[in-house]
């Protein structure tokens, strides 16, 4: 299974159908790297010709922009757009809702116009087109609680694709008390994941609060769609001492597990 970069493709007489935008978490965070690898496996098994940017990829600039640092956002974004336009990229898939949002909603104003999909949308498409099937067995009798990330859900109104995929697994899909439009943040967004939380009058943390709420549904698995949610949930679940009992997986990882890829 060889992962090709766009630069490598440039030397071949064939073109990739889609660019897989990996993002910083997917590239560097050990936990999120697993999600990247899972999506690569899915693309591979679906027979999709994809490429990554590799070292030519930079942060989309989302955390810079939302922390208030527009200079660094523009530096990142304009550099990325230059690279993407140079390769004449048309379609992008990403496993990170923050990258997804910035590429889809913020790059056009800066001169970057692409069709951008979140990996849950692409996975659903692949299932619908019969390009991948999901083997039964792996999740029999398992309760799966889905956590809506803010930037996929409330910000971009994508609620169905992830649920449709989870419904194809042989576990039971459960809803958290606050879900869909009312979903509760994991605490990472707005560049919060890169700093300590402000002091709290009751010593609460956003991720712990959210994990506690998800645990009320007594799940075996918490399914997420965002590498930063994954990181925050993992921290939160350790805080609750439940890391042995409840697994936190990205939807792509669940597909890989079901198919034992």
């Amino acid at each position: 299974m060889k992962v090709y970069t766009l630069a490598e493709y440039a030397g071949m007489d064939t073109e990739p159908e889609i660019l897989f935008w990996v993002g910083c978490a997917g590239s560097f965070d050990p936990r999120a790297q697993k999600i990247t690898q899972a999506l690569v496996k899915i693309l591979h098994h679906a027979g999709i010709k994809y490429a990554v940017l590799g070292n030519e990829e930079s942060c989309t600039g989302d955390p810079a922009r939302r922390s208030g640092n527009e200079f660094i956002f523009q530096m990142m974004a304009l550099q990325n757009i230059e690279v993407l336009n140079m390769y004449k990229v048309e379609k992008i898939v990403t496993a990170c809702p923050h990258c997804f949002n910035t590429l889809k909603n913020e790059y056009p104003e800066l001169g970057g116009n692409y069709t951008v999909v979140h990996h849950t949308q692409l996975i659903q498409e692949l299932i619908d087109e019969g390009k991948i099937t999901i083997e039964g067995g792996a999740f029999q009798g398992k309760k799966i609680t889905y956590h809506d990330s803010c930037y996929l859900g409330r910000v971009n109104d994508i609620y169905e694709a992830p649920r449709n995929i989870l419904n194809k697994l042989d576990g039971t899909l459960q809803e958290a008390k606050r879900s869909r439009k009312n979903g509760f943040c994991c605490g990472a967004g707005g560049a919060q994941v890169f700093k300590e939380e402000e002091k709290s009058s009751n010593d609460k943390k956003v991720n712990v609060e959210r994990v506690a709420e998800l645990l009320e549904t007594d799940p075996d698995i918490i399914a997420v769609n965002c590498p930063f949610c994954t990181i925050m949930m993992n921290d939160g679940i350790k805080n609750e001492g439940k890391e042995e009992d409840v697994m936190i997986y990205d939807i792509s990882e669940l597909i890989v597990q079901a198919n034992k890829w």
């Binding site: 299974m1 060889k2 992962v3 970069t5 990996v22 910083c24 978490a25 590239s27 560097f28 790297q33 690898q37 990554v52 590799g54 070292n55 990829e57 930079s58 942060c59 955390p63 810079a64 939302r66 922390s67 208030g68 640092n69 527009e70 200079f71 660094i72 523009q74 530096m75 304009l78 550099q79 230059e82 949002n101 889809k104 909603n105 104003e109 803010c150 930037y151 409330r154 910000v155 971009n156 009312n182 509760f184 943040c185 605490g187 967004g189 707005g190 919060q192 890169f194 700093k195 300590e196 402000e198 002091k199 709290s200 009751n202 609460k204 943390k205 956003v206 609060e209 959210r210 890829w261």
Partner: protein
Amino acid sequence: MVSQIAFASILGLVASRAYKSYSHIYQSIKLGKDETISGDSGTRWKNVLLVAFGQKKMFKRIIPAVLHLFIYVAFLFTQIELIEIILDGLLGKHRIFASLLGGLYTLIINSIEFLSLGALISTVIFLWRRNLLKVPRLVMPEMKGWPTLDANYILIAEIVLITAIFTMNGADGLLQKLDPVHYPDTGTLVLSSAVGGLFSGLSEGTLHFLERAGWWLHILVVFGFLLYLPISKHLHIMLAFPNVYFSKLKSRGEMPNMPEIMNEVKSMMGLGDPNAEEPPMSEELPNFGSKDIMDLSWKTILDAYTCTECGRCSSVCPANGTGKKLSPRKIMMDIRDRATEVAEVVKEQDYSTEAFDDGKSLFDYISDEELFACTTCNACVEACPVMINPLEPILELRRYKILTDSAGPADWMPMFTSLENTGAVWQMPNERIEWAKELNESKS
């Protein structure tokens, strides 16, 4: 005739005072930065119909939504009665619509009475929820003092108003039998005839006094309300409609671009338009982001004056919900209070803020601790029943702190440095594509 003159002069006085204070609000909103709100007007009108008139977003919380609906619908319908009162007052007539509309009049007044009863019950429940039950979102720290008084004043005024309506109609019903020439037949008014039962046996003079007292009290409370609105959170009954109309239709995920920075970075990277003229060099370093209400969009100021302090935004805010100081409602209240403070001064200069400097800014109201706690999750934006966006000013103020003040959480410095030097949020020794090695070596 005397009462006609009295009524007309009070009406004139109220109208001129109202004109003055509503113009002041309009000018206060215009203190914000010009911004053209683009987008399809059909969608905007649909929003006004569904969200403002239809109260659609209120129904995320069913109990307060139903209670509020009674007060809202009663308020809308009572306008018919109000128009009649004003016409009667000016023309020296009594219940001018009664003989004109006949049976329809009976239906309208009966509807108003039933809605008013609903509104009365709702008002009492609202007072209970605020003062005894202490619903958490209604007793947060920013609600101490004036905001709580303001809310209670209006609820009490509502009770006075409804009492006046029933007193007026109750006494009128009895007078119709005693003096049909002066008191035209309204048909049977179910609720007020029950109230009239309490007045049975009173003399015609006393009934006449009660009817007039109810009539005057009704209209005076309405006039008072009209003049009180501009200093109250209840301004939402008017501003909710334009606020919903002007709310942005762009994706929530798109932060407003900063073209001046984009162009600067483009020319740094050699991407600029070579034919573009050099921007004139300025002596002063430009300010980026917002530090005061003059830097914020006028729409944000309109948001702030529209806010009725219901606190739905703060009750869903992940930062606020986990004990942080940030409260999106407080941000909106602070912006409104600061706009009011600035407007009070600059109204003497024809609302020009050019020479304005009182040594203060929004940062005297809003602390860094609040600003930097926001996760940009958009829950507050989603929660607001009148489409206020508290996130936009939070991010505008952040921009000022980071770009102009070079302030902000120390934790962010390594992220900024890393982004600048390596293009990644973390400074990592390994390559960006290292995750692929394992896969490249695998067989399947």
